[in-house]
């Protein structure tokens, strides 16, 4: 018979009024297997009664569970009736860069100036943020920490969400540059009308010139004079890094795709409100999309009322590589529901899951290690009591990052217990 060792699941700290973010977990010391769960692999496949085993941080067995199998060396987690998912991946987020939105001193997301290709988000990533634990307790275990502001904001890095410092957290560093496509129209709150952005042409010229000169710079191995900004762009031209372009309008998306083509750069569209209009163009040019929130309003009064809800399904149908993202930092705990909402509008369930796991991993270039439950990949996964894409049933009971059993407590749970205590007296 199986031995049920569940004591390590879902560690609850003894009551403590101190709002300290949880201590990072110890490295995996023993093989672990999760049995009898419904496993959603992230690549579209589902194993109803699954066995998931991992050892030394890596997944070793992902298969149908055979009753009576021998797991003497394993810690066994019985997950009957529960669901196992690969850790969700939050793309395009300021998690760890912003602690409190309106408190400037806690904001490290946007450097001053318009062209900051050399700015690196990874070094500002705060592993001690009180926000991060609230996000990972909803199944988000990896995140692309992304700078904002200006035309070129800097480079993003992928982190895992259980670390002592940013070096520990770093999962893939400086994976791409972030470009904010200039707006053609500027919306006036006074008139409720959009007017032409007078600086648009100049801004486009600035971008073109930067790309042109960076490409030239990249052609020389040892430049006589080192230019930090151009140096930071070198990776774009040998496709070591990608150009993430925040852009929403159809015409601007087209421009961004053409820019990538012109300079031989891998472009990822971020936001991509109108991407559903351009699926052929995106596919032909191998351009992927980090879609903005599903929970957003249509861009135009005349649009279908559910356009943002069904855009993911339309991209899926057309075969465009896309993932689903959420705005902001604390909001990342609702990432799964952005995917879940799209299911109601035609996106197949497992494709919705891929949109926050495998597809995100592919776009970020970490799919060899993350994004699915497959042998050899990092054991970054979690167990949910129910369907994790639906807020009605989602309940993360334990989570592992690279095999480490992480503490799912957070500041908010601490406060909850504190005031539960108050009212029980």
């Amino acid at each position: 018979m199986l031995r049920y060792i569940t004591t390590f699941i879902c560690l609850f700290f003894a009551f403590s009024a101190m709002a300290q973010s949880p201590v990072p977990a110890r490295a995996q010391s023993k093989p672990i297997c999760i049995t009898a769960a419904t496993a959603h692999l992230g690549n579209g496949q589902v194993i109803d009664n699954a066995l998931i085993a991992f050892e030394n941080d890596k997944l070793t067995r992902v298969e149908a569970y055979q009753q009576g199998a021998d797991f003497r060396n394993y810690e066994v987690v019985d997950a009957k009736g529960k669901h196992v998912y690969p850790g969700f991946i939050a793309t395009n987020t300021t998690l760890g860069l912003v602690e409190i939105g309106a408190v400037r001193a806690t904001n490290d997301n946007a450097e001053t100036g318009t062209l900051n290709p050399s700015a690196r988000s990874i070094i500002a990533y705060n592993t001690d943020s009180e926000v991060t634990p609230t996000v990972r307790s909803q199944g988000v275990l990896l995140a692309q920490i992304t700078p904002q502001g200006g035309l070129v904001s800097g480079s993003s890095s992928v982190v895992q969400l259980d670390a002592w410092n940013w070096e520990d957290a770093a999962y893939a560093t400086d994976i791409g540059l972030h470009l904010n496509w200039p707006a053609r129209l500027s919306f006036s709150f006074f008139t409720g009308e959009s007017t032409r952005n007078e600086r648009y042409e100049q801004q486009i010229r600035d971008i073109e010139q930067l790309m042109e000169e960076a490409a030239a710079y990249a052609r020389q191995g040892q430049p006589a004079v080192k230019n930090l900004k151009l140096e930071a762009m070198r990776g774009l031209f040998n496709k070591e890094t990608k150009l993430y372009v925040s852009v929403n309008g159809a015409r601007d998306i087209t421009q961004a795709v053409l820019l990538g083509k012109k300079y031989g750069v891998s472009v990822v569209i971020v936001g991509g409100r109108d991407s559903w209009m351009l699926t052929d163009l995106l596919k032909e040019n191998n351009v992927s999309v980090i879609l903005g929130r599903t929970h957003s309003l249509p861009g135009r009064d005349d649009d279908d009322v559910d356009q943002p809800f069904k855009t993911p399904a339309m991209l899926h149908q057309a075969g465009v590589l896309f993932c689903i993202s959420n705005d902001g930092f604390w909001q990342q705990r609702n990432l799964a529901f952005q995917a879940g909402h799209a299911v109601g509008y035609g996106l197949p369930y497992e494709a919705a899951l891929s949109a926050i796991t495998l597809n995100a991993a592919k776009i970020l270039g970490i799919d060899k290690r993350a994004g699915t439950l497959e042998n050899g990949k990092d054991a970054t996964l979690f167990i949910s009591e129910g369907d994790a894409l639906d807020m009605r049933t989602s309940k993360v009971s334990c989570a592992f990052i690279q095999g480490r059993d992480i503490d799912l407590d957070n500041k908010q749970k601490v406060l909850y217990r504190k005031f539960k205590e108050k009212y029980s007296r």
Partner: protein, 998 residues
């Protein structure tokens, strides 16, 4: 003879009326003449609906002496034969800044709704004037009026003879003055010094912060009406502006608005004080014609119909939404529609890019349903009546001012020409009345060269050329005036011109000139016979027939309908029914909606004539109620320029056309409380609406609902995000004092009111007094426990209770105190970390408050989140384990309770309002979609119908885009497609100044 007449006409421009005594000394010999003229054989429009052919118009001293068929012409009258010509009363423009001084240059503006920048609390105008700079009642246009012939000419050229001039600055713009467009001294040109009071919803050059919103502007006017009444009966204060305000009340009241909804708002405000404003509209009145007609108001309409958008590029076309496209098509039908509906209106030339476009635009209106008689009425009779000057203007009758135009025929015809515009008996010549009868061919001898000269076209504007052979001709430039002609042409390709000047006498012309080499020569032209004009190939009468314009939609734009949906009997069968009553969640149950109410809930119901809906596998819930919403609000959600804006009412500024209404119906929302923002401690009065998409703003309101008011605490009201703000308060300590102070003063005010002594009605304190009297209830924006506790204590000291804390993210810390106080909490499910005061916010807040016995709701404060409040309710289950049944109440029954509407809404109980949602799935699931949303038994959203509406939008857009491209190709002017594609969405801390012109 003709020359003599011309000379006389020229002289007449010096005429003054005879024997008029003026205060000015004369330098030289007096030259007073009677100005006695007889215009004979004319077709005279004595009024807009009366035409006399072969009539004589006799004028003297700038007035009409007689008009008719049998007018005896005095011997001494100058006679002008107008055979074949028409005379009309000249036009009157009631919306003009003619003769007004240039507006002061824009001064830098101070902070808007509050919190940002330095606020200017009081008027910068020194002296005993109104506290608010936007009220310029003391401004008298006539005192600043200057005759400006340069500005008058374009108006005269299109037939205007008199205007109501005013300075277009401020909410009260003071008195307008009625003047003519002649070039005499101001003393004679001004017909009535103070002819009207002009108002608007724009504060103009005022740099004062208040009002920064439309709702504040309306409140300011309302208070000023009360202040005027108070001022009349008091002696403690001298106020030049209020005195002027009171004096202005007996005049016609003109009100400028930005759109038809503002017209409705202005007229509602006016009604409170017995005023029916004359609305200066923008030409979109057809969009709510029935509502506007019902007010009985008159309108001044511009003729600036929008140009087609340049939509050849499909992406550009995306920038333009359906309402803009449809308005382009329907705007020219507006005057015709108003006329047909019997709405009284006048036209203005104001708003035209160029005044000379006037007739072209007017003809557009005529092509689109306006009759010529209606057009003439709107230019003569109606404006004269509206400004109370029909005894002097607007028709040609004995004793009226001799303001008239002479035309070549119907003034509305395509080739219409105005020859003269006579103003106060003085002629302004636009075109010579006596163009020579000169069409024909001439033997043209220039020096020693013989040419054949051809004069073609019309006598008033002939084309002249030299025939070289059958196909080639040389164009002659020419100018004719008072019998003299100037011509020039290039005899060969040398580009050297022959220049001639001479006299035209009948059909013999002759004169002197210089040939291409500069040599002086003689020339002559002698008529030889008709020019053999080739018949121009007339284009076949516009090959394509003009498409009939599309329908008016309610609301006017995407997802609007041609007909408003109405009540029916609906029976939803075999669904899972969330009653929110003792019965709990019923499986396989039916819901019957009849006469707008829930009629029955139970198993196996039946009803004759009911529309049956199969609910198998689906769920039915009461409609979602959003306790905290800022949708459907026009021009500003905050009047945060003062610490209290209790006088402002969101109900004044409901925007029934906001697309958010439809979008939220698609998320199962049926009712929303529209709240003032959170910029100041005491905000404005809330409005409770149901999302009756298509109905007008008044019809959205929930009748009989209790009045609420928004309060706010914390970072917003203490303006934490501004380093330069000076408005009180800046700390939570100060916030308490605002309340303590206002409630204390309101109590004193109440005592004064009750004492029977005269008092100034103060709408701010009046509202606060309602709170003390438990007739109005507080919804307070709040975050941290200290401030929450504080406000409850203030309320307790003043003997009332706070009704609802909204946001209330630290409610969980004081839930026990809240329960004891009896206040409810309307919160976000899980928001936090966006500012310091929400750093201790937790998603378990709702559950903890609920467990302590607080009535808990989840609200949106967000146009996007509002359409998935069911999902937010689910988070009360996720975080804190509230039961699903109770969680759904967080967005249905509980907000109804907090709004005192639970007797009518919030559960499925016999007799309650038929506000019902049919869901595709479990209503707390992320996968659930609202399939049908009923309000009062009316199906306002239906997912099947929605698909049809989308289809209709696509078709209508496509039709209009084609039509605009045709218009562009047909040579019509276009405007770039850079307009609005999405409406403004408000959050509670939006504080921009919305009361200024862009």
């Amino acid at each position: 003879m003709k020359k003599a007449l011309l000379l006389l006409l020229a002289l007449s421009s010096w005429l003054t009326t005879s024997f008029a005594q003026v205060t000015f000394p004369q330098n030289g010999v007096y030259d007073e003449r009677e100005g006695l003229y007889a215009f004979t054989n004319a077709t005279v429009f004595t009024s807009y609906n009366q035409k006399i052919e072969g009539a004589t118009l006799l004028i003297r001293d700038g007035k009409v002496e007689a008009v008719g068929k049998d007018v005896a012409i005095p011997k001494e009258a100058v006679q002008i034969d107008l055979k074949g010509k028409f005379i009309y009363p000249s036009f009157i423009d009631l919306y003009s800044d003619y003769g007004m001084p240039e507006m002061p240059a824009e001064r830098p503006r101070t902070g808007g709704g509050g919190g940002f920048g330095n606020q200017q609390m009081l008027s910068s105008k020194q002296g005993a004037y109104m506290w608010n700079e936007a009220l310029k009642s003391e401004y008298n246009a006539h005192e600043n009026f200057k005759v400006n012939d340069k500005a008058a000419k374009p108006l005269r050229d299109v037939g205007f003879g008199a205007v109501l001039a005013h300075r277009m600055d401020g909410i009260s713009r003071g008195a307008g003055t009625l003047v003519t467009l002649t070039d005499k001294r101001e003393h004679e040109v001004i017909l009535r010094e103070k002819a009207a009071h002009l108002l608007s919803f724009n504060k103009g050059t005022s740099t004062q912060s208040y009002p920064s919103s439309l709702t504040g502007g309306i409140a300011l006017l309302r208070q000023t009406y009360h202040d005027g009444q108070w001022y009349a009966g008091q002696s403690s204060e001298v106020n030049i502006s209020l005195k002027a305000w009171n004096d202005l009340q007996s005049l016609p009241q003109f009100f400028e608005v930005r759109n038809q909804q503002e017209a409705q708002r202005a007229l509602r405000l006016g009604k409170e004080f017995g005023k029916t404003y004359i609305i200066k509209g923008v030409g979109d009145e057809y969009q709510r014609l029935d509502e506007l007609k019902a007010t009985g108001a008159s309108f001044i309409l511009p003729l600036n119909f929008p140009e087609a958008y340049d939509v050849e590029d499909p992406y550009d076309a995306l920038q333009i939404n359906l309402s803009q496209m449809k308005h382009w098509e329907l705007a020219p039908t507006n005057p015709g529609r108003l006329a047909a509906a019997g709405v009284n209106f006048a036209f203005t030339a104001n708003g035209l890019k160029k005044t000379e476009e006037f007739f072209g635009q007017l003809r557009k209106a005529i092509e689109n349903g306006l009759t010529e008689e209606q057009a003439l009425k709107a230019l003569t009779y109606t404006p004269a009546q509206l400004v109370g000057a029909y005894d002097r203007l607007g028709s040609l009758e004995k004793g009226k001012i001799a303001n008239f135009i002479i035309t070549n025929g119907s003034v509305f015809a395509k080739d219409a020409k105005i020859y003269h515009n006579w103003v106060q008996g003085k002629a302004f010549v636009i075109k010579d009345l006596d163009a020579p009868d000169w069409i024909g061919a001439y033997a043209f001898k220039v020096g020693d060269t013989d040419y054949r000269l051809l004069v073609k076209g019309k006598n008033e504007s002939p084309e002249m050329s030299i025939a070289v052979n059958d196909t080639t001709s040389i164009k002659i430039k020419h100018q004719y005036s008072n019998g003299q002609i100037t011509m020039s042409f290039e005899p060969d390709k040398s580009k050297q011109r022959v220049r001639l000047s001479g006299v035209v006498e009948g059909r013999n012309w002759k004169g002197r000139g210089q040939d291409a080499t500069g040599k002086w020569i003689n020339w002559s032209a002698t008529y030889t016979g008709p020019a053999d004009e080739k018949k121009e190939d007339k284009k076949p009468d516009s090959a394509k027939k003009e498409q009939a314009p599309g329908p008016v939609l309610y609301p006017f734009g995407p997802y609007g309908r041609e007909k408003l949906p109405t009540q029916a009997t609906y029976l939803i069968r075999n669904a899972t029914v969330w009653t929110n009553e003792k019965d709990g969640i019923l499986k396989n149950a039916d819901v019957l909606i009849e006469n707008g109410k829930i009629s029955k809930v139970g198993a196996k119901l039946s009803a004759a004539n009911a529309i049956t809906i199969d609910g198998t596998g689906k769920h039915v819930t009461p409609g979602i109620i959003d306790e905290h919403s800022h949708i459907a609000i026009s021009r500003g959600v905050n009047e945060g320029t003062q610490e209290s804006s209790a006088e402002v009412r969101m109900g004044d500024v409901i925007d029934s056309e906001d697309i958010s209404i439809y979008r939220q119906l698609s998320g199962g929302v049926t009712a929303s409380q529209l709240l003032h923002g959170s910029a100041n401690p005491i905000g404005g009065q809330s409005a409770m609406i149901k999302l009756r998409w298509g109905y007008n703003a008044e019809a959205l309101k929930v009748q009989g609902a209790d009045g609420f008011i928004k309060f706010a605490l914390g970072e917003n009201v203490k303006q934490s995000s501004s380093s330069s703000s000076t408005r009180f308060p800046q700390t939570r300590m100060g916030v308490e004092q605002v309340y303590e102070d206002y409630f204390t003063r309101a109590r004193e005010y109440g005592k004064l009111k009750a004492s029977g002594k005269p008092y100034r009605k103060d709408l701010d304190l009046e509202t606060i007094l309602e709170i003390l009297d438990k007739k109005r209830f507080i919804t307070c924006h709040s975050y941290v426990q200290s401030e929450i506790n504080m406000l409850m204590k203030v309320a307790e000291r003043f003997g009332f209770r706070i009704n609802t804390f909204t946001h209330i993210l630290e409610g969980y810390k004081v839930a026990d105190i809240m329960a004891k106080h009896g206040v409810g909490g309307s919160s976000f499910s899980d928001w936090w970390a966006y500012k310091y005061e929400v750093y201790e916010a937790i998603p378990y807040n709702g559950a903890l408050m609920h467990e302590e016995g607080v009535t808990v709701a989840f609200n949106s404060d967000d146009d996007e989140m509002a359409r998935r409040l069911n999902q937010e309710a689910a988070k009360a289950v996720l975080f804190g384990g509230v039961s699903e049944e109770e969680a759904l109440k967080f967005v249905t029954l509980n907000p109804a309770k907090l709004l005192h509407l639970d007797q009518r809404m919030g559960s499925l109980k016999t007799g309650k309002d038929g506000d019902v949602v049919l869901w595709s799935d479990h209503p707390l699931s992320v996968y659930a979609k609202a399939e049908k949303t009923f309000i009062d038994g009316i199906l306002f959203f239906d997912r099947d119908e929605d698909l049809q509406l989308r289809d209709a939008i696509a078709k209508e857009r496509s039709r209009l885009i084609q039509k605009m491209i045709e218009a562009k190709q047909g040579g019509q002017a276009t405007q770039p497609a850079s307009g609005r594609m999405s409406s403004r969405h408000y959050n509670c801390d939006d504080v921009d100044d919305e009361m200024t012109e862009e």
